[in-house]
């Protein structure tokens, strides 16, 4: 019983739920502010994402006549729940260890796919042709990036498993424990191809330039989100904020989990890593380049990240 309560708390309070939501929206605020400064603009206040979500919460949701109402309204809810669960799965070194029943890399990979699928379903349920284009683009992009992601996860799992004397281990706590003992994978040359492939994966998963193709504003007017308004749109904003926390902390857990043993210090170090990763990996990236076309992105993923991921798996198995 206490175990179930702990999981529930993890999902709703810390590190999921309230904590992750505030963190995700704050990260979004920092991202927008830093991006604005890099583009020599002033930018919105740091709390702007909070204002946006709160304001949307008080607005009315309109459902298009041609939309299939239930799917249209409940799809984002499924997305938010899945990322809430996903946040609770990712360990924070020295601070939070998920219950063994759920702290599994494979479960996390499945949960990470759901927001993308939700976006696809939402786009097609809205009945808008832009939603339909967003659907097909999101699908193509997912096919392109999910392959490398699975291979990256496998490489990490095998490296850990072999290191611990077994074959593979998908337990995130073990992966972190192994790295704390033997050094982070980021500093392990064998793992560099996997790190590089991961660096290609997460912009696509987070839907930022150059891979914001399904929601490209100047092309398909935010695609799947075009018909959304009010609290339901706020759910999408919440979903993407939470997803940012999940993906970045997954990166930290897989490649850079070192941290002091102290609870408070550990949390601070984790937060610093999160912000630095986001500013370098998300903000700097999206201001530095333009958007790709979907066919270009697809070819890119089939070429580099897949190659890198296969290479990393091969290297890990051989070494």
């Amino acid at each position: 019983m206490s175990n179930q309560l702990a999981i529930l708390l993890a999902v709703l309070l810390f590190p999921g739920g309230v904590f992750a939501l505030v963190l995700g929206l704050a990260l979004k605020g920092v991202d927008r502010r830093v991006a604005a400064r890099l583009q020599s603009r002033i930018g919105p206040p740091l709390a702007q994402p909070f204002f946006d979500v709160i304001k949307l919460g008080f607005k009315r949701t309109t459902v298009p006549e041609v939309a299939s109402q239930n799917v249209f309204l409940y799809a984002p809810l499924v997305g938010v729940i899945s990322v809430l669960l996903a946040v609770a799965l990712v360990p924070i070194t020295g601070v939070y260890t998920p219950a063994p029943a759920i702290g599994n890399l494979l479960v996390l990979l499945y949960l990470l796919m759901i927001p993308g699928i939700v976006l696809m379903i939402a786009g097609s349920a809205s009945g808008s042709p832009y939603g339909a284009i967003g659907f097909s683009r999101e699908m193509a992009l997912m096919i392109a990036y999910e392959g490398p992601l699975v291979l990256i996860a496998a490489a990490v799992a095998i490296r850990t498993g072999v290191g611990m004397g077994g074959w593979v281990t998908f337990s995130l706590s073990d992966i972190i424990a192994y790295q704390r003992e033997h050094g982070s994978f980021l500093f392990d040359p064998v793992m560099w191809p996997a790190v590089a492939a991961f660096c290609c994966f997460y912009p696509a998963n987070l839907g930022i330039v150059p891979f914001d193709i399904p929601e490209a504003e100047t092309e398909v007017l935010e695609g799947p989100l075009l018909e959304y308004s009010g609290p339901v749109l706020a759910l999408f904003k919440v979903m993407s904020a939470l997803k940012k926390v999940v993906v970045l902390s997954l990166g930290i857990a897989m490649f850079l989990p070192f941290a002091p043993d102290n609870w408070a210090l550990g949390l601070i170090v984790w937060l610093i890593k999160l912000v630095v990763l986001m500013v370098i990996g998300v903000t700097a990236l999206r201001v530095a380049i333009g958007r790709m076309r979907i066919d270009q992105a697809f070819t890119f993923f089939l070429k580099w990240p897949l190659l890198l991921a296969v290479a990393s798996l091969a290297v890990v198995v051989v070494v």
């Binding site: 583009q39 020599s40 330039v209 490209a216 333009g290």
Partner: protein
Amino acid sequence: MSSNNVPETFSIPVGPLHVALEEPMYFKIDVQGETVTHVDINAGHVHRGIEYLTTKRTMYQNVVLTERICSLCSNSHPQTFAMAAEQIAGIEVPERGIYLRVVADELKRVASHLFNTALLVHLTGYETYFMHMMQVREICQDTIESIFGNRQDIGAMCIGGVRYDLDEKSIAYILSQLDRIEPEVHDIIKTYKSNGSILRRTKGVGVLTHADAIATGVVGPVARASGVDYDVRREAPYAAYDRLPLVVHGATDGDVWSRAMVRLQETLTSIDLLRVCLRDLPGGAVNINDRPDIPPGQAIARCEAPRGEVLYYLRTNDTPQPERVKWRVPTFMNWDAVCFMMQGAKVADIAIIVNSIDPCLSCTER
């Protein structure tokens, strides 16, 4: 895919209000997956009846009215109108006025070309460079505002000359501003030639072949980028262009990138023309300082607006109002070419291709 294995097409509306389009126009685009199969252009959302209004106003009021047809070509319209009126009345514009017409025209051209090429990078999702290019354009806009008192409708033209004059101080100011813009434009050209983000979205996209360019009768940078070597400033010099070292730039690829490059190189040429104009600026009056009655008659005048050839037909009678004013704007000519450029294009390219003809809907639909 439908059951009998024929790929389904569906149509998407682009416009009349669309973030990627600066003005209301409506494309009904049939797509198959991501590929465009058919384009239907629908216009008329900003029709204001200006051609009718011109016949209700006097010739001198019409200079003001034609300036308000469109804001980006707001200098070319009154200039061409004034040229037609001067032709009918046999008015000789003073030398200084002729040069100042070029100054106003070329300053607007720099601003217009930089605006269009900036929008192109905005549409490719490269926001940072968009911000940078708009800042470079802002130098030009600042100059225009300081000299004319307005950013868009500069009110420089009048029948018989121009309505503004430059003193030593303002000439020095324009020259110093040009010195600030020029290296930036060189930098922008370098970026356009080397930046992967820009190249992969514009090279080979929206190609208009030389044959198609001639068939559709395109004008301006669109024509020049497809290898049609035509510039009104050289073919039928007006104002002071016969005395200026005008270089007409061209390209042969006819894609979006070439059109942008032609515009950027023309920006540099405009800066050169401005420098020569300001150096050789003759003394004397800037206009005829009179408002003679325009006698009955008819005339055609044309000039090279930033988007291409603007052509005015003017017929006057005994009344102070013109009997008929008719103009043909570059976008009207370039518009049909969009259908050729869109053949086999991707959905992602639609906005980029439309922007590459630098459409000016207010002019076209007036």
